[in-house]
Symmetry: D3
Subunit: 133 residues, 6 copies
């Protein structure tokens, strides 16, 4: 029953895309690939997407922290698309740059230097989303 | 400079060990193995442990959420010892059972059914730490 | 709509447990841990288990081959519990020992020697399920 | 002794490349990189390639299902090149689109949402190989 | 043609087992499981074992360093059996404790804190193999 | 106290970049991304980079072999950027092409065919660094 309220976003995806070229490129390529998946209309894929959506809703843990958790595990599992996605989602929910960096630090210490190439690309996105502190 | 204050624990490790047999077994085996590592006195291992310790201190993100992040990535990377450790740490910092489960849900959806055997063992520990809701 | 018919098992779990001590130990420990998860009654975990169940039903691909696919990916991701589970399920659906070994060979060549310790334990289970060819 | 007959392909690689721009790009880049590896003439690499080739031959399990198993584990281990390769091989051996999707569903549920970015790219290739259902 | 001379071991497996209870337990359980695999007499498994054996022979890189490389990647991929095996092999080829620790440090920094539980168990084995420096 | 002397490089990064277009592209993109990370000046990232640097210094194990170990684990964990980096570092420390290939063979046999796409790209870099044997 819990974990079900949609979060209140401070920015739309379109606003994020306007702030950051990296985000814009990622969001548009993700959207067009998702169209192909949607067209296929696979029953189990749709059910999986549905669970995925529900996992990050407001609950006992605020949605912002859930998205940052998504960032930590994505960086630990070294998935650039997933990292981009959760950085953008966390940004949209008001996460500060410092919170994003602290999350990436958890992934770095747990996942090791193998995470560093992804960390570099993550920082490039952060630099665009949070210009000139 | 940030990320440096020690968190205030609501329970000691000894109190956790008294509540849960699983936790007691884990904590005691971890302690005796850590003694062996400490005795070796390896310079870089000590430096690594130091970074590790600093990563989870109070910062912009409260220590409780950092420990839950540690839980999410540990479950995603499927490390039982790490899962036990971060469940215990989160418990000591006041995380509710619901918060622990929501964190595990992030790991489950991101990491897939390969996480399930670890989830089962995690729930066995949760059942001991949070008896009879 | 497809992928929905329950497969016809040639053996019950109880019959498998009678044939193999390794299977018996695994199935009983899995059952008692699953009880703990079930008691927790977590909404998203239940939904995930539901998708998981549906994935392996009869479809365009016969259930036997789906279970062997589950075996291949479980060995590739090095999860002993998952390997045991899918070997047992494949056995229950009539897979021959040769089919089980060919599946493990795919996992071995794709996953490398890091799979070997799991392969050894898998062969111990196979030796009990398919005695004296 | 078993697992040794070459499968009968319904399509050549050239025919696949003509059907799909994604396949064409992948196959040509793979071929030119393989030339560099072949030129190096490393003894153990050649032996490994030989085992790899033998693993997917006709056996107790038909080659088509072995290639789909290769797809499942490749998606589970998140290797785009390997996913492309096994989708193409399965297509060449007559796998239907539905069989490819059911295989990807096993990888999705076992591997979790971290597989989704690879699933999207896989669906883009499937859309070109199996146009307009 | 290269990479083919058998290395000269300074200790037999039996001598290692006498020095360390952890090694003895590991070696005996590995031997009895390997018997089961050998009895199955699977063609591709045997070929794979053959490549595996050839990989660690004396070559341009001395066998001792190859075994330490095996240790590093085993720790990075978090396989306790593989870690035990390569620590023992390196010991048999004359690696010092310091060389073993430096190798583990590479795995720790590359693989992160997720490696730590395996590091602890590796140090327990090292403590038995190299008593009281 | 040990593991602390800087190695003597036989080539500068600039010299490597002149020999190989692949290396040049990698080194320049890595440098510009590292600038972004450096600008962020994150305390724990800097500490992590410091440990990372110290891990590969001259010690009981010569720096050349440590870099080759870094190559083996990077290939095993399938990180192209890390593979490029350690191939270049090993080259700068005088590793022969044969030593690089023997190291990649350890990664191939331990990591399996999932490593092959990375092996291909590694061989493309090796072909540029060690032209016409």
């Amino acid at each position: 029953m819990e974990e079900r309220r949609e979060p209140d976003y401070q920015y739309t995806e379109a606003e994020v895309a306007q702030r950051s070229r990296i985000a814009a490129t990622f969001l548009s390529s993700r959207a067009s690939l998702n169209e192909i998946v949607t067209a296929a209309d696979n029953f189990l894929v749709k059910r999986f997407y549905n669970i995925d959506h529900n996992t990050y809703l407001e609950g006992e843990i605020p949605a912002k922290y859930k998205e940052l958790m998504g960032l930590v595990i994505s960086a630990g599992l070294r998935c650039d698309d997933c990292i981009n996605y959760h950085i953008i989602q966390s940004f949209r929910l008001g996460a500060s740059r410092q919170e994003q960096e602290e999350s990436l630090n958890v992934a770095l210490v747990v996942g090791g230097s193998i995470v560093v190439p992804h960390l570099r690309r993550a920082y490039a996105l952060l630099a665009e989303l949070y210009p000139a502190a």
